[in-house]
């Protein structure tokens, strides 16, 4: 049976996006007895959560829940995962919808055992997107140790191709296929779940906050990779300019969020994420002085407990005020933060070794066929006759628990649509 025949056998719930939201829709739907096809743009599922060091409020690793979800995926033949894939067209009506999916070449076939021999001989390096650009990988790579599927991928945009071909020569399993071509599949669909997630807001666009010009100004996404044992520093939090241990760290909240020039909405997780990251810093550098500049601390529900505990730590100062400007002294690497002290009054100038911008989480994708969006790019539902349900951060800024809750509800809505179609 060809891949196309397999895809066409039964009508499926099409899940666009293989992050925690999409994976949850997939496993919850399939475990209730319905077939699912997951279309993931990247070479691996797991999405952004896989790059996080720990979750708030439990300070537990995302890979723990991912491992359970991957086990559920591996066990369930009703779930088909297409990586490096994108939905390019949706046609038909509620009862005869068909999604056209384009699958980019991986250049590595399913014979790959992830033994890594090819990585040793590959001569090309590329920026490591998984590590927020903090390091590099070879052109042939495995995004991280828990990557699923556990199969390497070749970045076709930098690979030298057959003129090099060292990977193909060294692979004992015939897993390298540099002739692999893009292919297109037509998938009958009963419902579509849009779980395309979010993209960190580009901090370079906030020109007052010094990102991109000041080495010691990083984003919260980069902090996750600095703190993770699997990251480029082996989990050491250090100043990018010289690798020194930071003694003063400032978190700049609402970096681009709640700001009509950038993201007019609140990104819902950044307050708690920064309090969590303050915990990362404290765990490694107990004497570091931490300051968090915020407008409101948004810790709904029981997350209040986490917020109270984090703010009660001995070395954290909470300063209500929006940061106006961040500048770096190129000679010392010291960063100055200008902030309006709303309660104390006046402008304060604080210095730090490391500044972390809590950048927001705008939706990653707009313009998917069949999907309607609001003016801020959040998915709202179907644009045509095919049933479409928005999931998680594609719909609104949410934390992981909120995303999974939302995704479970979408699984039910998808099942209802399948039953009707």
């Amino acid at each position: 049976m060809t891949e196309q025949q397999a895809a066409q056998q039964t009508k499926a719930v099409l899940v666009v996006g293989g992050g925690i939201g999409g994976l949850t829709v997939a496993v919850e739907t399939a475990e209730a007895g319905w077939p699912v096809v997951v279309v993931e743009k990247n070479a691996f599922v797991g999405g952004r959560v896989a790059a996080n060091h720990l979750y708030f409020p439990k300070m537990c690793p995302p890979t723990c829940g991912l491992e359970i979800n991957f086990q559920r995926l591996r066990k369930n033949p009703a779930i088909k995962i297409l990586t490096l894939a994108e939905v390019t067209k949706v046609s038909g009506g509620a009862k005869d919808a068909v999604a056209t999916v384009t699958v980019k070449p991986r250049y590595v076939n399913e014979k790959c055992t992830a033994c890594g021999k090819c990585i040793e001989v590959c001569p090309v390096s590329r920026p490591d997107a998984f590590n927020a650009g903090l390091g590099t990988t070879k052109a042939v790579y495995l995004a991280h140790a828990m990557a699923h599927p556990q199969r390497l991928v070749i970045d076709g945009s930098v690979c030298l191709g057959k003129s090099c071909g060292k990977c193909a020569t060294v692979c004992p399993y015939g897993a390298i296929d540099l002739d692999m071509k893009e292919r297109t599949l037509e998938i009958p669909v009963g419902a579509m779940a849009v779980a395309t997630g979010w993209l960190p807001y580009d901090a370079k666009r906030i020109d007052t906050l010094g990102f991109g010009t000041s080495k010691n100004v990083i984003t919260n996404a980069m902090m996750e990779r600095l703190a993770a044992p699997s990251g480029v520093t082996g989990g050491k939090i250090q100043r990018p300019s010289d690798g020194a241990a930071p003694k003063r760290v400032i978190f700049v909240q609402c970096a681009g969020s709640r700001d009509r020039l950038h993201l007019p909405y609140c990104s819902a997780v950044c307050c708690l994420a920064s309090l969590k990251q303050a915990g990362y810093v404290r765990a490694q550098h107990p004497d570091a002085e931490i300051t968090m500049c915020y407008i409101d601390v948004r810790a709904p529900g029981k997350l209040e407990d986490f917020s109270v505990k984090a703010q009660a730590e001995h070395n954290i100062t909470m300063l209500k005020g929006k940061v106006a400007k961040v500048t770096e002294n190129a000679a010392t690497g010291e960063v100055t933060v200008e902030v309006e002290d709303i309660l104390g009054g006046g402008i304060r100038r604080l210095t730090a070794d490391l500044v972390v911008l809590a950048t927001g989480m705008p939706p990653a994708t707009t313009g998917l066929p069949g999907v309607a969006y609001d003016t801020n790019g959040f998915a709202t539902g179907p644009s045509g006759a095919v049933p479409v349900f928005a999931v998680g951060c594609a719909k609104k800024p949410l934390d992981v628990a909120g995303t999974v809750q939302d995704a479970t509800g979408v699984a039910l809505k998808a099942i209802q649509a399948m039953a009707r179609s």
Binding site: R74, T113, A145, Q150, P172, C266, T375, V410, A411
Partner: protein, 709 residues
């Protein structure tokens, strides 16, 4: 089933370069492998065909694949045989130990033999399939319950909806306006609950019972018998799964005298204001005059250790909503909101912006320090405001934004006839929520799912979505239960523990320790299994001192036999250790250590367990009397932020071990020979240190005196 055991040893991915695979094959043959083959790539076409051919033509029905991790190549090794076991020679041996070293070879041999013993001690499980009810019982007829009932019915389920009061709708039926749920997130909405209640009444799949309470629920998923009491009498109804949707009530404002409640009729709660808005004009209760100035006090009793320490998540937006409709009705009215943090996350910001655009709504951060009534007005003192450190406000009407208290605080509601108690277990503050970030619907009672504000404070949009999620879990539970399969986290597992009750001493450890309240008891205290409640973790098996609980494919004898199979060297300088590890966290962490080519001592043999809570103390005795130097147990983090997917498995294990250590001391064996450590899945980099340190520490005690006996 007569077993024919095939052992397939892969030499690919560096295994053959590190180990003498032919020698391993000879060991496999000696130890019970009836067909033993080696190949450089069993996951490839040729190797796979070799395997498939043995199954199809040679009658091999029990397969041991000694190759990569059980977590790798699952598609390639999805072979249709009753018994399949993976021995991890790649990540746990070749990739993490010195190549071509006698100790590495011995490690591989031990793992191979342990794998063969494991299949020898395994029988294929027989699923427990019963004739079950697929009816979903929804308890609570507010927005959550109504939504869950409609959602389940529209997915094809029969539903019974129980409501305590005479009519559906809950507190939202008496609300004037609701928060915005769609773009542009600025406009007040009419509550949708009345319309949904009509849909419920019209739905042929939903039976509504109002004025009803639950007297008792006995049974198990698929087989629950719910006794429902109404004025007409009692009725017992067979249902399959349950959604608890009884919501919350406002915090008792009589406890908020410090915020002026009780000092004047003009200090009211948010719920009072909502009721007033439905009836007509917003006025001062004291003199029924139109309220010209209204002040809202946020976090009235919330975020307060003396009252509700948590945040109720919706009060900020609710006060903004009420301020807006006060201003709509009376454009002359002035509204002030004193908040601690304005919590309107996500697109709630647009709603907040709309309030900020209204010059008649004054919003300030501040902490209210006193509320007094004088001269027909209410004076409110606040500190740390945007206007200054100490400010006094005056208003005609003061509204306390009180928080939510889950109804589970007041009564057990479901009245479960369970040995472990009548209520759905709750966590902090009485919420029967899940402790798992990744699995928000997990409860400690299989087949019972909480939704809406009984689970966590949330707004209407979230409630509707939450109801759908809980309905899905209920339907999914019944889909799996009908096939005799487990629900999360061992989804699809169709094994079930057998109890050899003739030898039961009624010690009740199993019935007490099951994290899911699976086991009930008869009058004498003998466990009564409820197979469809079981999550297959094996905690009961670990708890039982008589060793009478076992699964067909997971048993005390099996693990004990695997321990017995470990080779203990005659050479005193070559120690051997046992490691018992959680298969969900420590096992993958060992894989990742292998992937990173991190090396650790080759003298420890790891046995993965479903949950460390399944650890039976007899295994310690087995290991010690066998002459192993020590036992290292690696489990999930426990305590407040527990990560154990079986709730308290690793914690129960540590409690059991504290007892065995006393026993060891009495035997004059050092208690330090048994150590339990907590390890999260991402802490693989710490594994070598943990293992090597343990071995180093046990060395201090000298060799195990039982060695060679």
């Amino acid at each position: 089933m007569e077993k024919k055991i095939g052992v397939y040893i892969c030499s690919g991915c560096g295994i053959g370069e590190s180990l003498n695979v032919e020698k391993l094959a000879a060991v496999a043959q000696r130890k019970g492998g009836q067909v033993v083959k080696t190949h450089p790539c069993f996951c490839g076409e040729e190797g796979n065909a070799l395997l498939a051919n043995d199954v199809a033509s040679e009658g091999v029905n029990t397969v041991v694949i000694a190759a990569c991790s059980a977590r790798a190549m699952t598609d390639a090794f999805r072979i249709d045989v009753p018994i399949l076991e993976r021995v991890n020679l790649r990540e746990h041996v070749a990739w993490s130990h010195e190549p071509n070293d006698e100790h590495t070879q011995q490690l591989a041999e031990d793992y191979l033999i342990m794998g063969i013993v494991r299949v020898q001690k395994t029988s294929p499980p027989e699923p427990n399939i019963q004739d079950i009810s697929k009816v979903v019982l929804v308890v609570g007829g507010g927005l959550t319950g109504i939504s869950a009932a409609l959602d389940a019915a529209e997915a094809g389920s029969e539903v019974i909806l129980i409501e305590k009061s005479p009519r559906l709708g809950g507190w939202l039926a008496g609300a004037w306006k609701d928060l915005p749920s769609t773009a542009p997130y600025r406009d007040l909405e009419t509550p949708q609950v009345a319309e949904k209640a009509r849909l419920v009444q019209a739905n042929a799949k939903i039976r509504v019972i109002t004025g009803a309470s639950i007297e008792k629920i006995a049974g198990a998923p698929g087989l629950f018998d719910a006794t429902v009491k109404t004025e007409a009498g009692e009725e017992t109804i067979r249902v399959g799964a349950i959604v608890l949707a009884t919501g919350s009530r406002p915090y008792d404002a009589t406890k908020l005298a410090h915020l002026g409640f009780g000092s004047s009729p003009d200090v009211i709660t948010a719920a009072d204001l909502e009721a007033m808005a439905v009836k007509g004009e917003i006025h001062r209760p004291s003199d029924r005059k139109k309220a010209k100035s209204v002040l809202f006090i946020q976090c009235a009793g919330s975020r307060d250790e003396a009252h509700l320490p948590y945040c109720s998540a919706t009060c900020c937006a609710t006060s903004l909503k009420q301020a807006m409709y006060i201003r709509e009705r009376n454009p002359e009215a002035e509204v002030t909101i004193v908040y601690r943090d304005m919590r309107t996350p996500g697109q709630g910001e647009f709603f907040y912006q709309r309030a900020q655009e209204d010059p008649g709504i004054f919003l300030t951060k501040g902490v209210v320090t006193g509320v007094t009534a004088a001269g027909g007005k209410i004076q409110v003192a606040a500190k740390d405001t945007l206007l200054g450190p100490d400010v006094k406000f005056e208003a005609d009407l003061v509204v306390l934004a009180t928080g939510m208290v889950p109804t589970t605080v007041d009564e057990p509601i479901l009245n479960l006839a369970y040995r472990q108690g009548p209520a759905l277990p709750t966590l902090k503050y009485g919420f029967p929520d899940s402790h798992f970030i990744c699995f928000p619907y997990e409860t400690q009672r299989t087949g019972i799912y909480a939704a809406g504000t009984v689970r966590a404070p949330m707004d209407s949009a979230a409630v509707v979505q939450d109801a759908a999620g809980a309905a899905l879990k209920a339907i999914q539970c019944l889909h799996l239960t009908a096939q005799g399969k487990a629900v999360h986290p061992r989804v699809g597992d169709d094994s079930f523990p057998d109890f050899f009750l003739n030898r039961c001493t009624q010690c009740k450890r199993c019935t007490e320790e099951c994290p899911f309240g699976t086991l009930d008891e008869d009058e004498k205290g003998t466990p009564k299994p409820n197979p469809t409640r079981c999550r297959r973790c094996g905690v009961c098996m670990g708890a039982c001192p008589e060793r009478i609980i076992s699964f067909k494919n997971y048993s005390i004898d099996m693990i004990a036999s695997m321990i017995k199979a470990v080779d203990v060297s005659d050479d005193e300088d070559v120690p051997t250790f046992l490691g018992l590890i959680c298969e969900n966290d420590a096992y993958p962490a060992l894989d990742m250590a292998g992937l990173a080519r991190i090396k650790y001592s080759p003298h420890i043999r790891f046995i993965p367990l479903r949950c460390l809570g399944g650890t039976n103390l007899v295994w310690m005795a087995e290991a010690m009397s066998k002459g192993l130097e020590g036992v290292l147990l690696i489990g999930c983090k426990h305590g407040e932020n527990y990560q154990c997917h079986f709730v308290k498995g690793s914690e129960l294990c540590s409690i059991r071990l504290s007892k065995v250590q006393e026993t060891l001391n009495r035997l004059q064996l050092e208690s330090g020979r048994i150590r339990m450590v907590q390890l999260a899945i991402n802490e693989f980099d710490q594994l070598p240190g943990i293992v090597d340190q343990f071995i180093e520490d046990v060395k201090e005690f000298g060799p195990n005196p039982f060695r060679g006996m």
